[in-house]
């Protein structure tokens, strides 16, 4: 069975600092990985996804993530965050279907 673990429920960071949101997955077969962002009182929006190819994936709003098969991780990074990046971030995994299994989310709080 697939599962996703987001170890950090909250990540506080100052504006213009770098940030990394951690995501680990478990699966016995090939997986596809996603990061979604949810701004307050809004639905989820796709940030980036890894389906195949280069393990470094670039997404919207300056975010990127790296697929590491040996460590079963797909951490999300941004070199310099803005106040507007304050939101909930969800990692999700899928196995060869469109059915997504989401992690519990990480709340990124950016302070001025």
């Amino acid at each position: 069975a697939q599962s996703v673990t987001q170890l950090d429920s909250q990540v506080p960071v100052f504006e213009e600092a770098p940030v990394e949101l951690r995501c680990n997955y478990s699966s016995s077969v090939s997986v596809y990985l996603f990061w979604y962002v949810q701004y307050p009182n809004q639905g989820l929006q796709l940030l980036l996804k890894y389906l195949s190819g280069s393990t470094l994936v670039k997404g919207i709003n300056g975010f990127e993530a790296e697929f590491n098969k040996s460590q079963t991780s797909f951490h999300l990074r941004k070199p310099s965050v803005h106040i507007s990046d304050t939101a909930e971030y969800f990692c999700a995994v899928s196995h060869n279907t469109d059915k997504l299994i989401f992690g519990t989310g990480t709340r990124l709080q950016v302070f001025p």
């Binding site: 996703v4 429920s9 596809y32 009182n41 809004q42 639905g43 989820l44 929006q45 796709l46 996804k49 389906l51 969800f90 999700a92 899928s94 060869n96 279907t97 469109d98 059915k99 997504l100 299994i101 989401f102 992690g103 519990t104 989310g105």
Partner: protein
Amino acid sequence: EAGVAQSPRYKIIEKRQSVAFWCNPISGHATLYWYQQILGQGPKLLIQFQNNGVVDDSQLPKDRFSAERLKGVDSTLKIQPAKLEDSAVYLCASSLAPQLNSPLHFGNGTRLTVT
């Protein structure tokens, strides 16, 4: 393009009452999903439609939850009777096709509070 529309935005009901949520997906999107997002958890898929047929409802509590997509466009999710543990945000999403290259577009959700 217009996004996924959901209504109502908020709903407060007492336990054992019934409630219905409505979703209008993006025009032309054949696949529609209902997710339940309990506070502090990630979204959990309840049901997936392909046009007006059910593809996956394995996690739908069928004794109290029902959903339909009669004409392959709009969809309604119903809970009858509601329990306290049904308090959550109910998200509707749609995509062009049930494939990983076809991204999901989410609505803003309906926040249900059961008292």
